[in-house]
């Protein structure tokens, strides 16, 4: 069987599995729809969180990005895992203990203000929509590349699947399909990685393999990373493992971006809501651990894949005559993701700095990896199914967050306070359907700025949500005015800085940036402003009512709250 037949088979099988699970776990109550009836075991929730969190970007793009950045790629590796420590220690158990359905609801209650809740719900919707558009696009691209259907048909098929299990199954349906999707995506990531590691270093565990020695060729017996640094020197590029040298990001910028991504992760609404689905605060802590274990499996493999891919790419293509390039080069050339521009007209590919003739899209690194390593067709098909699983699981989680922000935080608590649960459930399903259609539209015709905005969503989440949640849990005296001042100044500062340097002065260099921090990392500064203002304003305004101070002491005691309303 060829690659395409295998891809149809595996993708159809995984889709049938997701729909079967959704049918089995369909729900009839609001509690089931928003938080899966709070009955999800910690390990299953950890897996679901992993799939929810790891999007098309983690699966398809990250290893490729690291491959081009070398050491600096640590901003993604640390930034997107370190946040779970903050989440487990500072937020998840306490939010779970407080109960209710959404994070905005906690913000509204803790800061005794519908305005605060509305601002939080608005930030949720904004952050989630920018994210979801990227996922839908990822679905469309995988479909068009491996199944040769038009991008918009790919998006529509993806939307129908997500619609089916998110609208019908709510959080319960999503949770159990995410567990299945995690399994698909991790297998699809690990098999090619192990095969390549074994091929290059003779060690099948990629995490150890990329610290091992190269087995064949001129570099045999040399440590892989040393060989890679040598290749880079040959090309007059900064060494792969070197940090902060010219041509790479500065120390302060790396620090700021890593911090913004960590704190942003801890403040992302679709991640936070996962911790509402477990039985207790204790289960929330353990499921944060499982989540990071499952995510770490992919995140410790990715840098190895990055290094192998880099070595493979340079050693197969640099100084190779264009007429002798391998088969995979030709097939990816037609997608436009890799291209050769023969500037000196000698027909040989030159990759050295200054004379580079090869353009490679970062997404190719993971998708073409199995072909570069000459693995069998079913492995290539599995990678396509893995990419789809990563994109669909994240999209579904985001849809649900959008639906609950609209139906629960805005409609039920502010517009029509006396709405019955049945009506609320119906409204949640309707909003989820509308959101799916809007997401599909963005996926088919993405506004040019979407890709950039996704990266900035972290900065915005970091500078708005995180400080308010931490202060809300750990201080009794932060006031409504303090929180609103902090949230709005944090997000305004970060937003303005991003808009200024991306849209108004995109040509600005590191010398123009505030302390040399790039727009990607400025969320870290926004977060500090948010903390500072919230604390200062709180000192000069009327302290929160006794009831709220009581509530704060209560969520920090290790005791379950009384019967919960469902």
């Amino acid at each position: 069987m060829n690659v395409q037949a295998w891809t149809y088979l595996i993708v159809a099988a995984t889709f049938a599995l997701y729909i079967g699970i959704a049918w089995w776990s369909r729900v009839r109550t609001t509690s089931g729809f928003y938080v899966a009836g709070r009955g999800v075991p910690a390990v299953a929730n950890g897996m679901a969180t992993g799939a929810d969190w790891m999007s098309a970007a983690s699966f398809i793009s990250m290893a490729g990005l690291i491959s081009f950045m070398g050491y600096t790629g640590t901003i993604y590796l640390m930034g997107w895992t370190g946040g779970y420590v903050l989440l487990a220690l500072l937020l998840a158990p306490y939010l779970r203990k407080y109960g209710k359905f959404t994070t905005s609801e906690f913000v509204g209650d803790r800061y005794y203000s519908d305005a605060a809740r509305l601002v939080a719900a608005g930030c949720t919707i904004f952050v989630s929509f920018t994210y979801i558009a990227g996922q839908m696009r990822g679905v469309g691209v995988v479909f068009s590349r491996f199944l040769e259907v038009e991008v918009h048909w790919g998006v529509i098929i993806g939307v129908v699947i997500v619609f089916f299990y998110a609208v019908l199954g709510g959080m319960r349906g999503i949770t159990y399909t995410q567990v299945a999707q995690y399994c698909v995506l991790i297998v699809a990531f690990l098999i090619p990685a192990a095969a390549i590691s074994w091929k290059i270093t003779g060690n099948p565990i990629p995490q150890f393999g990329f610290g091992d020695t190269v087995q064949e060729g001129q570099q045999a017996g040399v440590f892989l990373l040393e060989a890679l640094d040598a290749l880079h020197r040959e090309l007059r590029l900064p060494e792969y493992t070197a940090a902060f040298v010219p041509g790479k990001k500065s120390m302060i910028d790396v620090t700021a971006i890593a911090l913004a991504l960590m704190v942003g992760t801890a403040g992302l609404p679709h991640v936070l809501v996962r911790f509402y689905t477990v039985r207790s605060a204790r289960a929330a802590r353990w499921s944060a651990l499982w989540a990071l274990v499952f995510i770490g499996l992919l995140y410790t493999t990715a840098p190895a894949v990055a290094a192998f891919a880099r070595v493979n790419l340079i050693s197969t293509l640099h100084n190779t005559s264009y007429s002798e390039v391998p088969e995979w080069f030709r097939s990816w050339e037609t997608t436009g993701l890799i291209s050769f521009d023969d500037q000196d007209g000698d027909g040989v590919i030159d990759m050295s700095d200054g004379a580079n003739e090869l353009t490679v899209d970062q997404d190719i690194m993971v998708l073409a990896n199995p072909e570069i390593a000459e693995l069998p067709a079913w492995v290539v098909a599995l990678v396509a199914a893995g990419g789809l699983a990563a994109a669909l699981s994240t999209a579904a989680g985001l849809l649900l967050v959008i639906a609950s922000a609209i139906s629960h935080d805005i409609a039920k608590s502010i517009l029509w306070k006396d709405m019955s649960s049945r009506k609320e459930l119906l409204l949640a399903r309707v909003t989820a359907s509308v959101a799916v259609v809007v997401a599909a539209y963005f996926g088919i015709s993405p506004p040019g700025f979407v890709a950039q905005v996704v990266a900035f969503a972290f900065g915005l989440a970091a500078s708005s949500f995180f400080p308010v949640l931490v202060l809300g849990i750990f201080t009794r005296t932060t006031t409504k005015e303090g929180a609103i001042a902090g949230m709005s100044s944090g997000i305004l500062f970060t937003g303005a800085y991003i808009v200024y340097f991306r849209l108004i002065r995109p040509e600005a260099t590191a010398d123009d940036w505030l302390f040399g921090i790039s727009p990607e990392g400025i969320g870290a500064v926004g977060m500090l402003i948010n903390f500072a203002l919230a604390l200062i304003v709180s000192r000069f305004t009327k302290p929160p009512p006794d009831k709220v101070q009581q509530l704060v002491s209560e969520i920090r005691l290790p005791r379950e709250r009384g019967a919960e309303s469902a």
């Binding site: 690291i66 050491y71 790629g73 640590t74 590796l77 640390m78 895992t81 370190g82 779970y84 420590v85 903050l86 487990a88 220690l89 158990p93 995490q207 150890f208 990329f210 610290g211 091992d212 020695t213 440590f223 892989l224 990373l225 040393e226 493992t241 070197a242 940090a243 902060f244 120390m251 790396v254 620090t255 890593a258 204790r282 802590r285 353990w286 944060a288 651990l289 990071l292 274990v293 770490g296 995140y299 410790t300 840098p303 290790p558 005791r559 379950e560």
Partner: protein, 67 residues
Amino acid sequence: MAILLSIWFVCSYVLGIFLVEPLNGAQLGGFPLGFWFAHQGSIYVFIVLILVYAATMDRLDRRYGVD
């Protein structure tokens, strides 16, 4: 918890970012040490930190008779 958060800070920022250049002088198998912390070590440490925290909180819960 303050201790765990300071380990979080030390392993990710101090070892992985601030001191990466001097640490790269040392080797851990085939890895420059600072690079290893940035690309691998910090993630393992994050997992251990949450494990220790979850276990400690379980012990506290039991000591105060909550289950």
